[in-house]
């Protein structure tokens, strides 16, 4: 095992490495529509300093947070119930299978007809996008809970509700949090795409307007900003997750040895 210092810095080094690859590639291609990494980074403060785009980005983040929290609040109980009751699972499974491959952001034009272009339709789309993976993972997590633990709980006089909160929820937590992590990334993706389709406000709007107007360094600077949001949110969530389920850390850090 390498010293922890290098392992901590590895993602940062990877970022730097990717930026260097970008820089070299753009210098080699000499394409007008492909600015170098340095030019793109230089355009970042201009966007973040601009009041209007800052408001736009914050509005995006607010919609994302609301959609995500609502989705997790509804999907986790639903997934847990599906995992513990065959009838509930059979009831919802086909419906979810039908909805799963439909791109949620593609519902945007239809939802816009009903609810307008405002916050409600975008939050609804984010909600739909987040809920499916969370339901799926909670379902799998609750299904895999050891029957013996539930039986012992029942034998010791826990009611069905108590069993749900004190046995099934903690036992399924690692799986639920994996689902939430996928959901978080999906929330960001749906946020950007819904704003691309309903060009009214938000980060996706800035990105694609800049593309249409040929401001290529703004395009790439926005890519950096959105990417950084994704990476920061993910690593923050990962830290919370690691703290919550420290007891179940899977041990797949070790590469296989047979060479």
């Amino acid at each position: 095992m390498k010293p922890t210092g290098i392992r901590r810095a590895a993602p940062l080094l990877a970022c730097l490495g990717l930026l260097v690859v970008w820089q070299v590639a753009s210098l080699a291609l000499r394409n007008d529509s492909f600015p170098t990494a340095l030019e793109a980074i230089r355009a970042v403060p201009a966007i973040l300093g601009d009041k209007e785009s800052l408001i736009n980005i914050l509005a995006s983040l607010r919609r994302m947070a609301i959609g995500f929290v609502l989705a997790v609040g509804i999907s986790v109980p639903l997934g847990l119930m599906m995992g513990r009751s065959r009838a509930v699972a059979a009831f919802f499974n086909p419906l979810l299978m039908v909805i799963y491959p439909v791109p949620k952001a593609a519902l945007m034009p239809i939802i816009m007809l009903w609810l307008g272009v405002g916050d409600v339709s975008k939050t609804l789309v984010i909600f739909l996008g987040v809920s499916l993976p969370v339901i799926y993972h909670s379902f799998e997590g609750a299904k895999a809970v050891e029957e013996k633990m539930i039986w012992s709980g029942a034998a010791m006089g826990l009611s069905a509700v108590q069993r749900m909160f004190r046995i099934i929820l903690p036992a399924a937590l690692p799986e639920i949090l994996t689902g939430c992590r996928t959901g978080l990334v999906l929330a960001l993706i749906t946020m950007v795409t819904s704003e691309m389709i309903a060009r009214q406000s938000g980060a996706g709007n800035i990105l694609f307007n800049a593309l249409d107007m040929g401001q290529y360094d703004t395009v790439f600077a926005m890519i950096i900003i959105v990417g950084a949001m994704g990476i920061c949110l993910d690593s923050a969530f990962e830290r919370v997750r690691a703290r919550l389920v420290r007891w179940s850390e899977p041990n797949f850090n070790v590469p296989l040895s047979f060479s």
Binding site: K2, A10, P11, A14, C15, G17, L18, L29, S33, F34, R86, A90, F91, F92, N93, P94, L95, M97, V98, I99, Y100, P101, V102, P103, K104, A105, A106, L107, P109, I110, L113, W114, V185, L188, I189, V192, T193, M196, L207, F208, L211, Y216, V219, F220, M222, I223, V226, G227, G230, I231, L233, D234, P250, F252, V254, P255, L256, S257, F258, S259
Partner: protein
Amino acid sequence: MNSRALTTDLLLGAIPIALLIAVWQAINSLGYAPATLLPPPGAVFSRLFSQLYDPTFQFQIATTLFRLFAGFAIAVALGISLGIAAATNPAIDAVVRPVVRVLAPLPKVALYPAFLLLLGFNHESKIMLVAADALFPILLSTYYGASTVEQKLIWSAMAAGTPPRQILFKVVLPAAMPSILTGCRIGLVISCIVVFLAEMITSTNGLGFVLVSAARMFQTVDMFVPLITISLLGLILNGLLQAGRSYLLRGFPEA
């Protein structure tokens, strides 16, 4: 599971879908929504069937499917080989791990403008986006599957004199197969979603374009048709993958 339980499950599962369509029809018949905003289900499905025989629409489906499969195939090939390589070789692992950690949570749709500018507005940029989005679930689950292979299996193969290259194909790959296929399934659904989105954002053909052009012309019936088509495509592809899975995993316990 016996066949009777299966039938009850199927019947139970049909209820919410039937309810959804019933509510949809009821909203129309009771006049809560004008047909221009929410066309009746009958109109949508009959339009869908007439469209399925229309050569133009078939061409749009074929275009979408081509992009989907090309991107998905790239993602599968890259994801499995990189995942196995990283799990078995510490040097590759040291490079791949941090790069994946940075790139996996990055919303790939945001890269789409970059792909457009670099690869043009045709197939390439869409295929690239599909591949970029489907790659990470496949890569991660391959990596996970390959690194949780029981070391004893590998030791026994080595003790039996199997050369390292063959251990890869005879022990590691089959043992990681369930996990790899789970990753492929997630990747497939993501490919369906992404190809559609990419076509919605900029395209002149494909199912996503059908939706966008219908939306521009306010043809609500035609907006539902591509959505139902992509849902059906997803179901069919998922079923095919499931069949492939039960073939590949024959002999595995509880596959």
